[in-house]
Symmetry: C2
Subunit: 498 residues, 2 copies
């Protein structure tokens, strides 16, 4: 009885009036805001003006979708609303906004199908059509690799028919984009099969040494144009080749990166630079891993300035889990920094989401995707406490069949919890997305709270430098360069331009 | 430098050997297990034997889907794998297992299309076909309600044509099941429209007073057959009618519930019983809410033994948010227990997920769905601290377009965090699911960790009584009855039956 009386008394105290209720409610909202990513940033007056403009447009867009669920972009596959994004004013603001760095992006998936088709306008490129597939090879003579039909010079073939039609057909081999994704990609099996075919096809184009150099230069240029100032690129480090069939060792690919980074920084001194994460296939055994590690150490020794660290890649459900390699990886953790892909899966309680535990225990500096971490609250606590950033790629997860409606993407919760997160785009060229802006847009409008504002975007940009592999001096330098760029953006912002 | 040395020293201590690593890893898994729902239950030897059988089958099923992602049930819409569930041995064990109570289930959505079609075999049921729709009415003369074609006695019409075909066509009006759900229900708009049409159609059949009584008796019987021993049923309390057109007041519907509960308990004394949650439409204004509250109080006064509490229902995105009614609801919270639907939405940072805050602040005893709570970690903390159970209905959320791949359902995280959860089925008849077993199956195999075992199922069953609206004596009694049933199940369990 006394307990009951106290309870009623407390209740009376708490909820005596609607005003008390309102105060209590407001406190919850405030606490949620403070906990969330970027929620404790204080905006300057000028930033607040930008924010007012941004949020007016964001509310308009979200409210439209809220009130017209039949058109709601985010209920559908990304390919259904990809083109609509271009009309969004929020998108346009994001496009112009300095976004810091791209930290999770695979070299052969960056520039899209149009760029690849352009590269096929060459006098020394051979093509071989096979059933539902195509092989390509730069060569000064007919390639002696097997072809189920016939090797032909692509330009000769193109000139013998309707060029536009030829290019349109060719283009389909270099993209995951389809009109009916729900039918073409019912599960992860079909989307990943197409994805792997994509890589197999483009690799023979991109690894021709002169193209590789040009391509990577163009990647940096495209990033710069999208207001990105720094890159950490993942590479399997494929062997480059010449017209006469010469094939280079792996380390040459790394050296080529270094050369192009230096050239680009010379041409554009305001660009901060790029680093390499050596990330080869995870479908391997222990001796293959030894070889990878040996190579990583060799690159690090030779080019410590551009070498960021080590990772293993490929469809995680099919690859070897990290737990198979603990002694080797523990040993190499003494001199290699890890940026493991981990938990890029819908499964729960398997070796695949188990990779998250090992990535953390092995001391990963950042974790690629970490999609399944939402099901491991103790691991979320660990990444917060140890300040390990998750590299989240929302559009990739949507295209590659982890989630359809991005409003169900775990990033919502990671934002709410203030988990260290950086946004990236994984393989934007493979699905014809922007290098970073589309991912920022989808995360900001589709995944984040309707109430999340410029502070979230700013924090994401800052995080991309804060959690980079830059050494502490370079990081300080990069952050101050970013602040200058940010302030210029804010100073020059004119809402009527949008 | 000293910091660096200490760090290296600590690292050396922690990771000196692979054995240390393994111990650390095992501890994380153990801590995850202990935190998760049911994770600290100790199984008896006999329960362990049941568990071994259950988990052998679960691993087999999950491993099959893991290795054959192209067939993976859970990637698809529920309707694509609904029938496969019947072949699952895990499902068969769950079906036989005592499951406690169903706490979130709406009266007019419980028994499926076959049951409804059977009810139409009546000499006094009129039918009117309209464009893509059908109206029905029990009457001793031609109904005077508008009909765009012509009212006919259904049996006369059926007898004049191919009965099987007639019933098959008729059946489609009473189910959301379709062969191509991704096309029929691209968004929440289409699935909810069909859902609302379903209710409109069945209500004229079910609210014929003799049918209502029989239907509810059959609901209890079906629950009992599915090893459910207690029910809390949500009802809009529709007005019942007689053949001559007499319509009863709302309170008569409640009295009818009481009568049938008493009759059923007399027929089956081992059934614990049922209670009523008055849950009318949330698309209302303040004066309508006053009327609801008045009615709820009247029912509570008249039938305190069967009245559990108050709720508001309907597509939450379209209804009035709780915040519009705070003074009224605060006032009524003194004498009414709340079981609010809240956060049944994919939106984040809107008034709809905001309902979660108000449900908690208004002192809800349980929360219906709470789907969006995953995006509100502070609210998750509140429901844990205040021990407010979330009534989760996974299949409902899948059919009604919140999530396609149930592996993305937030329940995974709620399980991992040990949040108080009860499983229910919302409107299983509307999508032709079992009253509870299908939801248990999908939650256990598709949503929970692959490693979650009998302890999770047992905890869910216990929770359904623990968080019921039974008074403390009845609850103790119910739990002891449940334990008897559980022990009998365990004692008699024979793995070779599955």
């Amino acid at each position: 009885m006394r307990i009951l009386v106290s309870y009623v008394f407390i209740l009376a105290l708490c909820y005596a009036t609607t005003d008390d209720y309102k105060a209590k409610r407001a406190k919850i909202l405030r606490d949620e805001e403070l906990l969330s990513l970027g929620g404790n940033i204080q905006l300057t007056d000028k930033e607040s003006a930008v924010n007012d403009c941004l949020m007016r447009h964001k509310f308009q867009e979200v409210n439209y979708y809220f009130n017209n669920p039949q058109y709601c972009n985010f209920s559908h596959n990304f390919f259904a609303y990809k083109d609509n994004i271009r009309h969004s004013k929020v998108y346009k603001i994001i496009k112009d906004m300095p976004k810091g760095a791209a930290l999770h992006i695979h070299d052969m998936g960056i520039l899209g199908a149009d760029y690849i088709v352009n590269l096929t306008y060459s006098e020394v490129l051979y093509i071989c059509f096979e059933e539902k597939d195509v092989k390509l090879k730069f060569s000064d003579k007919e390639p002696n690799e097997p072809c189920k039909s016939k090797w032909q010079l692509i330009n000769e073939m193109r000139n013998s028919m309707n060029k536009t039609k030829f290019d349109a057909e060719l283009r389909k081999y270099f993209t995951l984009y389809v009109n009916d994704p729900d039918i073409e990609y019912p599960t992860i099996k079909e989307s990943w099969t197409t994805f792997m075919n994509y890589f197999r096809r483009v690799s023979k184009i991109l690894t021709y040494r002169p193209i590789w150099e040009q391509y990577f230069y163009d990647v940096l240029l495209k990033l710069k144009m999208e207001n990105v100032m720094y890159l950490e690129i993942r590479s399997v480090l494929p062997n480059l080749y010449e017209l006469d069939g010469t094939e280079y060792e792996t380390i040459v690919t790394a050296k080529t990166y270094k050369k192009i980074i230096q050239k680009f920084k010379k041409d554009y001194p305001d660009f901060i630079g790029a680093k390499l994460i050596y990330a080869n296939s995870r479908r391997i055994n222990r001796s293959q891993l030894d070889e990878y590690i040996r190579l990583a150490r060799a690159i690090k020794k030779d080019m410590p300035d551009i070498f960021a660290g080590f990772d293993l890649v490929g469809q995680e459900d099919l690859g070897s889990p990290l737990i198979e390699f603990i002694p080797q990886l523990l040993n190499a953790s003494k001199d290699l920094d890890y940026f493991f892909h981990a938990g890029e899966t819908n499964w729960y309680g398997t070796l695949v989401d188990g990779n998250l535990i090992d990535a953390i225990l092995l001391g990963a500096k950042r974790i690629g995707h970490g999609y399944a971490i939402i099901k491991h609250p103790l691991l979320i606590r660990e990444v917060i406490q140890q300040d390990i950033a998750l590299e989240v790629n929302v559009i990739s997860n949507a295209v590659l069949s982890l989630v359809r409606d991005v409003r169900n993407h775990p990033l919502s919760t990671l934002f709410a919890l203030g988990v260290p997160v950086v946004l990236s785009s994984d393989d934007p060229g493979a699905w014809e997305a922007d290098l970073l802006s589309d991912d920022f847009y989808v995360a900001f409008v589709g995944v984040a709270s309707r109430l999340s504002d410029l502070r979230l975007l700013k924090q994401l940009a800052i995080n991309s430098l804060k959690y980079s592999a830059l050494d502490s001096n370079s990081k300080r330098d990069a952050l101050s360069k970013f602040n200058l760029r940010w302030n210029t953006f804010v100073e020059n912002f004119d809402c009527s331009n949008y």
